[in-house]
């Protein structure tokens, strides 16, 4: 069973629908107790980093989630804002975030590119990992973001995309994984990546 953290500003329904499409068993996570019923957890996100942090705090889910993911080994998948809040600080609202990964979140420069970045852009995978298995060297995924992460440790970077230069669009460190693009809204390639995550949670290796 995969849990999708459901908070007011999030787009949990879209992620839920995508998981259902690929045959996943899904639970909408609303309380800390729900975390006991799942084997993998997805934190979707739209909106702002501050609103997301506030929602998660109000739900009383932050410390039990940290316990499961960092204390235990529950595979975590963050999407969009769900990726950004993993880092130490976000320039959006100048707020501290979870700090599970080292680095900062900064804004694209609107004097140089349109902000938000909205649309399909090429994701180039930097290394091998079960999450991106059988995806080839690159593929196009759907983005909506004004901010992006800057990991302090380059080893955390799993993929990059060019928007006013390369930025980190996927990270992975141990059981913590995340993508800046909307996996759930990236057509067949997005569903394929999500299926890789499902298999990874189930403990098997992704197959061809």
């Amino acid at each position: 069973m995969i849990g999708v953290i459901d908070y007011r500003a999030g787009n949990a329904p879209s992620v839920y629908n995508a998981l259902k499409k690929i045959g996943g068993e899904v639970l909408m996570v609303n309380t800390a107790q729900d975390l006991e019923k799942i084997r993998g957890v997805i934190l979707p996100g739209v909106g702002s980093a501050g609103a997301t942090m506030d929602s998660l705090t109000e739900m009383g889910i932050l410390s039990p989630l940290e316990e499961k993911v960092r204390g235990g080994s529950m595979p975590f998948l963050g999407i969009c804002i769900g990726m950004q809040i993993l880092f130490e600080h976000s320039a959006e609202g100048d707020i501290p975030c979870l700090g599970w990964l080292k680095g900062k979140v900064t804004r694209f420069d609107k004097r140089r590119v349109r902000v938000p970045q909205m649309g399909w852009n090429e994701v180039r995978f930097c290394r091998e990992h079960p999450l991106v298995e059988n995806m080839g060297q690159s593929g196009h995924f759907y983005y909506v973001n004004s901010y992006h992460v800057n990991p302090a440790d380059e080893n955390d970077i799993l993929a990059v995309t060019d928007y006013d230069g390369d930025f980190c669009c996927m990270v992975q460190r141990d059981n913590i994984m995340a993508a800046q693009f909307h996996i759930e809204k990236s057509g067949p390639l997005g569903l394929k990546l999500l299926a890789n995550y499902l298999r990874l949670v189930e403990g098997g290796q992704p197959s061809c």
Partner: protein
């Protein structure tokens, strides 16, 4: 490189996709959810539904259709028409849409753009603008006026000024729909699309008038538009021929326009 987007736009009436010519003479095309699925499988980049029953007859938005489409379509999905307040926005997003398009209501109550952006993020809020070519005056310097209520009411507002204000209020995208070109199949209004795209930093969507892939190419090469809306050329039986998404993308690629590659 960020690619240019192709958006399929459908007017929906009682769960059916319907097609109008310059906002009049509607005829039904087919069940909305089925058409959305078909065009998703054809690899369109995004889908927009305007619920014209909800907007014209002040009825609630058809959330059942929104839900059905969201369960079956895995590209961004925008819903417009009949959105009156923050709760309507929330209902549409909870039903599985990614974005909300506001139009007449935002002209009457611009604060809704700001409130929506604050509550759900700018990326959710598409400001759709009906623009009409008029004589340049002191009040309407761009020579384009904003109309509302299905192009039946003229507001005296300058389209370019409204676009900039929309960005300032927090809209994440601007859809520039030309009343003059809509349904003509003679191409987009490149002048106002370009003017607005140059004046704002957020993405601009060209809308109204596409009849063949060259029109789309023109919008991308002659203006700063990030996306283009197509509808008739995809499915309308009133055109000499329809174009599958694959063929449109191939033609755009040949002209050097970056598009999301069609997966074979």
């Amino acid at each position: 490189m960020l690619t240019k987007r192709l958006l399929a736009c459908f007017d929906m009436r009682d769960g059916m996709v319907t097609k109008a010519h310059q906002f009049q003479d509607n005829f039904d095309i087919g069940a909305a959810a089925e058409i959305a699925c078909k065009i998703y499988e054809d690899q369109i980049d995004e889908i927009i539904f305007y619920d014209i029953t909800a907007s014209a007859k002040k009825k609630p938005i058809d959330l059942d259709t929104v839900r059905t489409v969201a369960e079956r379509v895995f590209v961004p999905f925008t819903v417009g028409g009949g959105i009156r307040n923050l709760d309507d926005m929330y209902q549409v997003l909870k039903a599985g849409a990614e974005k909300i398009s506001v139009d007449s209501m935002a002209v009457r109550n611009p604060a809704i753009i700001e409130e929506g952006a604050k509550a759900f993020g700018s990326q959710c809020i598409v400001l759709s603008m009906q623009v009409k070519r008029v004589e340049k005056t002191e009040r309407i310097r761009s020579g384009y006026e904003i109309a509302i209520d299905g192009a039946r009411t003229y507001t005296g507002m300058d389209a370019l000024e409204w676009a900039k204000r929309g960005e300032d209020l927090g809209a994440g995208e601007l859809c520039v729909n030309s009343i003059d070109c809509d349904g003509t199949h003679n191409g987009y209004d490149l002048a106002i699309t370009g003017l607005i795209a140059d004046a704002v930093s957020i993405p601009v969507i060209a809308s109204g008038g596409a009849g063949n892939p060259s029109h789309i190419a023109d919008a991308f090469t002659q203006t700063g538009a990030s996306a283009a809306i197509i509808s008739s050329m995809l499915y309308s039986p009133k055109l000499p021929r329809n174009y599958p998404v694959a063929e449109i993308k191939e033609l755009l690629s040949e002209k050097g326009i970056p598009v999301r590659p069609y997966l074979k």
